[in-house]
């Protein structure tokens, strides 16, 4: 029997799609914007996009997107003139727009929350993305938490000196507050860049040739199935069948 500590991670890795399949779903969601798909197709696609989320155990996220989509579709179907309030056109237009963007956000949220950094990097290398793009991406993922930590420290230091404290400091002195926060962040960033360079070069990031990876990614039957299932409604819609 597995321990409780290891179970969630292994389960999540096992049940989420291959990063390349996720990328493909993202592309499909974007293509939906170009083709101006009908309402039935849109609803089908949303359901198909939310299914992997459920499989990955993100039930609450999937439910939130489903409710949001239902609400936006309902708002978009309102007829402002029948209600006698022409101003509602703004609301209606925004709702239609939001429900169009929703597939992109849903697939994006899925890709972002279920992909580990190493799987992402591994996928990029497998797709032969140049190192000039891979290396900065690795650094961003690695450096992001540091920035948040730095920001907290800077705010603490500012509070200690009584500078720009309180919620309204940003509103009263925006430029000065920005300066007080950005300058230490940038100072630290230049130092971190040097430290990271030394560390990464020691680990052999600068070497030519193929790099090996501890994380392995593999396209499985479920990945191909998900890709095919999501392509079908869009292809049928584009061909004019639905």
């Amino acid at each position: 029997m597995r321990t409780a500590a290891t179970a969630p991670t292994s389960r999540r890795d096992g049940r989420s799609l291959d990063p390349r399949a996720k990328l493909y779903l993202l592309l499909l969601a974007n293509l939906m914007l170009f083709f101006h798909v009908g309402l039935a197709t849109q609803a089908t696609m949303i359901a198909l996009f939310l299914a992997p989320m459920l499989v990955a155990g993100r039930v609450r996220m999937a439910a939130r997107f489903a409710v949001l989509y239902a609400a936006m579709t309902a708002l978009g179907l309102l007829d402002p003139d029948a209600l006698g309030v022409p101003q509602l056109h703004v609301v209606s237009a925004l709702a239609v727009g939001a429900s169009m963007m929703l597939p992109c956000f849903a697939t994006g949220a899925y890709a972002f929350t279920t992909t580990s950094a190493s799987a992402f990097v591994c996928a990029m290398r497998r797709m032969r993305v140049p190192e000039a793009v891979v290396v900065p991406c690795v650094v961003i993922i690695r450096f992001f938490p540091t920035i948040l930590e730095d920001y907290r420290r800077i705010r603490e230091a500012m509070a200690l000196r009584g500078i720009a404290t309180g919620a309204f400091a940003w509103v009263r002195h925006p430029a000065r507050s920005l300066e007080y926060v950005v300058v230490p962040l940038l100072m630290n960033a230049t130092n971190v860049a040097q430290d990271l360079s030394v560390a990464a070069l020691t680990k052999g990031l600068g070497r030519d040739g193929v790099h090996t990876s501890r994380t392995t990614i593999r396209m499985r039957a479920a990945d191909w199935l998900a890709m095919a299932a999501c392509t079908l409604p869009l292809a049928l819609d584009a061909a004019g069948v639905i």
Partner: protein, 210 residues
């Protein structure tokens, strides 16, 4: 916080290609820029409600001048600005933004990089112009507004409204907001770039970091 010239960066100032150390520097600044973009998204959504990201590029341009200026000064070679824009475009795409934003975040930073190179990454005016051009690279996320317009027009037509009526609905929503948001980017980028250069002179030049 002492500014010792690192052995890594002194070696490859002789070459013009981006080394791994350069790419790491770009990554660090791109992460900071991405944070700025996230902050801008938040602020823009707070101010404009449902329109969400319409003023996103302008607000991002206003606050990320120092990041851009310090990157240009630290790196001082061709490719850094382009890679930063490209990587940000990639992250925007993966986090669910519109795929066309990728094109904008490749073309504008590339142009910005060329402009900055014309001033050898030192000229104050060329850097400012370069920053303004770079800021337009973020217009990608607001491009769907036009697709939304098409979609809404289609849905109105499906409900039997005539063309003149549809024109009337959009007359004051679209053209105006487009011009305002583009002009806002210009003004904010000029302000943000100037602010960034001022900070550079005030803090980083003295510390020997830039």
């Amino acid at each position: 916080m002492t500014s010792q010239p690192s052995p890594v960066s002194t070696v490859e100032t002789t070459t013009n290609r981006l080394s791994t150390a350069d790419l790491i520097t770009v990554g660090v600044f791109a992460a900071l820029y991405f944070v700025m973009v996230c902050v801008a998204t938040l602020v823009s959504t707070l101010f404009t409600g449902g329109f969400g990201s319409i003023f996103l590029p302008a607000i991002a341009a206003l606050i990320s001048g120092p990041v851009f200026m310090l990157l240009a000064a630290r790196l001082g070679k061709f490719g850094g600005i382009t890679v930063m824009g490209l990587v940000i475009g990639l992250f925007l795409f993966v986090s669910g933004h519109f795929a066309l934003s990728f094109v904008a975040s490749l073309v504008f930073p590339l142009a910005a990089d060329l402009i900055a190179r014309a001033g050898r990454y030192r000229g104050r005016t060329s850097l400012l112009v370069s920053y303004v051009v770079f800021s337009y690279g973020l217009t990608g996320p607001i491009l769907p507004l036009w697709f939304m317009k098409d979609a809404y027009v289609a849905s109105l037509e499906a409900r039997g409204k005539d063309a003149a009526y549809i024109e009337g609905v959009f007359a004051h929503i679209n053209a105006g907001t487009f011009v305002v948001s583009m002009a806002a980017i210009l003004v904010c980028a000029l302000l943000g770039g100037w602010f960034g250069q001022r900070l550079m002179r005030k803090h980083f030049a003295k510390a020997g970091i830039a």
